[in-house]
């Protein structure tokens, strides 16, 4: 669900900017983050056509990361654990599922105003978050949900940063178009905070700072790590001590690494290097979680 939400926001911002200037605009970075392409050629084929991209990412049945497939899968998962989630939460997911299956959606996305469609879908996501927050009891179920959520969010934020900067060949001193950075911030809902906090126009280092290290920014990597630690702590009990200590150790280690870094130290080791490293660490945390808590064997 977290991925669905960030995809939709990304689509909305990028679609809006595709309306500003078609010549320079390309969907390439978005397709790289959210697509599952085997070769570069298939990206080149559709990167200039907004409507094709929207179809691919929102509704394409063959794209495992499409909103359609992710919502369907979330619903299947929820169906399997109905005893662990509230009825309201199940209903909100089920409704979302029926919304993305509606045939009308395809037509609206292709021929009408896509932003209305995306807004509708984003609203479903927000509904899901709201229902989860006010109906789920504060037990293990919620902890796992939130651990998954923040793991995904941190990975997404690191990924977005990585792809966006790869266009710039990770050169932090290179001047580039302000609308480019504005869109990056808008697509992670961080534009308003940026304006208030950093003020001095668009400075690449500040953007990195906000997305990696700002603890007040709900989509920053450090914020996600703090949350991750908080919810993991709730799993502490006498039964699965080995699993817990593994997980706690890995999260703590990664959190310290991010906490005691700053933009300067990151640029010394190289942004790409740093991001790849923490993404691998997040992936490892995911593996550990599955191994100790969800494996049947």
């Amino acid at each position: 669900m977290e991925r669905t939400d960030s995809i939709l926001r990304m689509l909305k911002t990028n679609y809006a900017s595709s309306q500003d200037n078609r010549d320079e605009f390309t969907w390439r970075p978005v397709l790289k983050i959210f697509g599952s392409f085997e070769d570069d050629e298939s990206i080149t084929k559709i990167e200039k056509s907004s409507r094709k991209v929207l179809h691919y990412i929102v509704l394409d049945r063959t794209n495992p990361n499409s909103v359609f497939n992710m919502v369907t899968e979330s619903r299947e998962n929820a169906r399997g654990v109905q005893d662990n989630i509230t009825k309201e939460l199940w209903q909100s997911l089920n409704e979302f599922y029926h919304v993305v299956r509606e045939e009308r959606l395809e037509y609206s996305l292709q021929f009408e105003d896509p932003i209305t469609v995306l807004d509708g879908l984003i609203k479903q996501c927000m509904l899901y978050y709201g229902v989860a927050d006010i109906t789920m009891f504060r037990g293990e179920g919620l902890s796992f949900m939130n651990i998954g959520k923040y793991l995904e969010r941190a990975t997404q934020s690191a990924g977005v940063l990585d792809i966006k900067f790869s266009d710039n060949s990770y050169d932090l001193d290179k001047e580039s178009d302000t609308t480019y950075w504005k869109n990056l911030l808008l697509s992670v809902s961080g534009y308003a905070l940026y304006l208030k906090r950093y003020r001095s126009g668009f400075e690449v280092r500040n953007i990195i700072d906000q997305i990696l290290f700002n603890v007040d920014f709900p989509r920053s990597v450090l914020y996600s790590l703090n949350q991750l630690q908080k919810y993991t702590e709730r799993l502490r009990d006498d039964k699965n001590t080995e699993g817990f200590s593994q997980l706690d150790f890995q999260i703590g280690k990664l959190r310290s690494k991010v906490l005691y870094s700053d933009v300067q130290s990151v640029s010394r080791v190289g942004l790409h290097h740093f991001l790849t490293e923490i993404s691998a660490d997040f992936a490892q945390i995911g593996v550990t979680l599955n191994q100790y808590y969800f494996a049947y064997s």
Partner: protein
């Protein structure tokens, strides 16, 4: 269907139409024209509905209070864009830049050495009798000698397509939020049409303004405190104030949030007082400082003028600018351009008669049926007389008004404003328009965002585009090729 849409679109040789060149469609409108022709059935009405709904849900509204209950209204928006070609724009851009340069120099001169008065180019009595000339500003040094940071110059087109300056708005011109929001709405209701036509973006306006405000800060510090001073939620432009503050990430304040101490302006915050460096004010001069101007004012901040005179705070736009956009002083702007810049004016003035001059007064009173008479210090379309559309009695009453104080009146021949297609009641019909581009002047020069506010007189045949008089607006496209 399609012939119905454009059926009976009246074309008159005495009016410049932005889309029709006699029977042909001007090339800049061709794409939009084809697009409108190919829209099936009642889709256009659906789009109009969508636009209304978007304005409503995004709160782009103003509130009308009646019987104690607020009613949210939207500023009427016509969905068909107004299009300006690249060459027309570059002409407008050069013209406004030149005019603004001269007006800035004029303000600096009038409030300092007054060379232009001593050389007899502009009569002194005209300046001293202007209610917006503020003696309190005499000799005040303003940062970078910039008085007009934000200008909205109203342009109109005559029957042969020539652009004229109708008036200069140099105090607190409004409408820029509509320039930005109208574009956002058009993106939504006409997908892909904007990139197809290579329309230049307008979203950079807040960042340019913000950069200028930063540069004006009297304190050389890393992050100066900038605020937008609004009269409050009852002001009709309050939506614009909140939008601009949000887009620039600055605080929106009312007078009660500010306090002056020891000639410095402070903002009250939860963490104590914070010194303010730059104020973008949307409060008129006369309400700005109750100690100096209107003592009854609750919208201003006591002592703010002293802080300004000491150079401890920058105020945007400068105080006292009204002397330069007075309608009687307007007559002298072409002379100012020649005097200060030694250049020929690029944009023409509308021929204007000053009723303070006896011979011109006689001419106007004789030909009042062909004239528009205006008060020199009113705006928003109030207090004017449209000679061709008024009754004998109205004219007689107005004449009496004029004779009481002729200095306060000017007259202009009725200009037949250009028309552009509008979608009204299911049909495309011509309506009169003007254009207000927004020019920003900062320490690093003058920038004009390619676009502006096109105001429309929505009533058939009407020549008055002011929003307070039933006018609406359109998205304004400036093409890049």
């Amino acid at each position: 269907m399609t012939s119905d849409l454009f059926g009976n679109y009246p074309i008159s040789p005495s009016i410049w139409d932005e889309m029709y060149d006699e029977e042909r469609i001007r090339p800049q409108y061709q794409d939009v024209y084809n697009f409108l022709l190919n829209i099936p059935g009642d889709d256009l009405s659906k789009k109009e509905e969508l636009a209304k709904r978007l304005f409503m849900s995004q709160g782009i509204t103003f509130t009308v209070y009646s019987s104690g209950e607020g009613v949210e209204k939207i500023f009427p928006f016509d969905i068909i864009p107004r299009i300006i070609t690249a060459s027309e724009w570059s002409f407008i851009e050069r013209g406004i830049t030149q005019r603004l340069k001269a007006l800035n120099l004029f303000l600096k001169d009038v409030y300092n050495q007054q060379f232009i008065l001593k050389d007899g180019i502009v009569p002194s009595d005209l300046i001293y009798s202007c209610p917006h000339y503020l003696r309190e500003m005499q000799g005040v040094q303003v940062p970078y000698d910039i008085y007009v940071h934000i200008a909205g110059i109203d342009l109109i087109r005559d029957s042969d397509g020539t652009f004229y300056v109708l008036e200069d708005n140099l105090r607190t011109p409004s409408g820029v939020s509509y320039m930005i929001e109208n574009r956002e709405i058009t993106k939504r209701i006409f997908p892909d049409l904007i990139p197809q036509n290579q329309v230049r973006p307008v979203t950079q306006y807040p960042s340019i303004l913000y950069k200028n405000l930063m540069e004006l800060s009297p304190r050389q510090i890393n992050s100066p405190n900038i605020v937008l001073l609004t009269p409050g939620i009852f002001n009709s432009a309050y939506f614009e104030h909140t939008t601009l503050a949000r887009l620039m990430g600055i605080e929106l304040v009312e007078s009660r949030d500010l306090v002056v101490e020891n000639h410095k302006v402070y903002m009250k915050t939860t963490g104590g007082l914070e010194q303010i460096d730059v104020i973008y004010r949307r409060v008129d001069d006369e309400y700005l400082d109750p100690l100096v101007f209107n003592p009854e004012s609750v919208l201003g901040v006591s002592g703010i003028l002293s802080a300004y005179r000491k150079g401890n705070v920058a105020i945007v736009n400068a105080i006292g600018n009204g002397v330069a956009d007075d309608k009687a002083v307007y007559v002298y702007v072409p002379e100012m351009i020649r005097y200060y810049l030694n250049e020929e004016p690029i944009l023409k003035n509308v021929p204007t008669y000053q009723l303070g001059k006896p011979d011109e007064q006689e001419h106007v009173l004789k030909n009042i049926n062909k004239m528009v008479v205006k008060k020199t210090n009113e705006s928003g379309g109030y207090g004017m007389l449209m000679g061709h559309a008024s009754s004998e009695k109205e004219i007689e009453d107005y004449k009496k008004e004029i004779l009481k104080d002729p200095r306060n009146f000017i007259a202009q021949p009725t200009i037949s404003l250009s028309t552009t297609p509008c979608y009204i009641n299911g049909k495309v019909q011509p309506r009169r328009i003007d254009l207000r581009p927004f020019a920003l002047c900062g320490p690093s020069g003058i920038e004009i965002v390619p676009g502006g506010l096109t105001r429309v007189a929505l009533k058939e045949g009407s020549l008055v585009v002011n929003s307070s008089q039933g006018g609406g607006s359109k998205d304004t496209w400036v093409l890049s090729v």
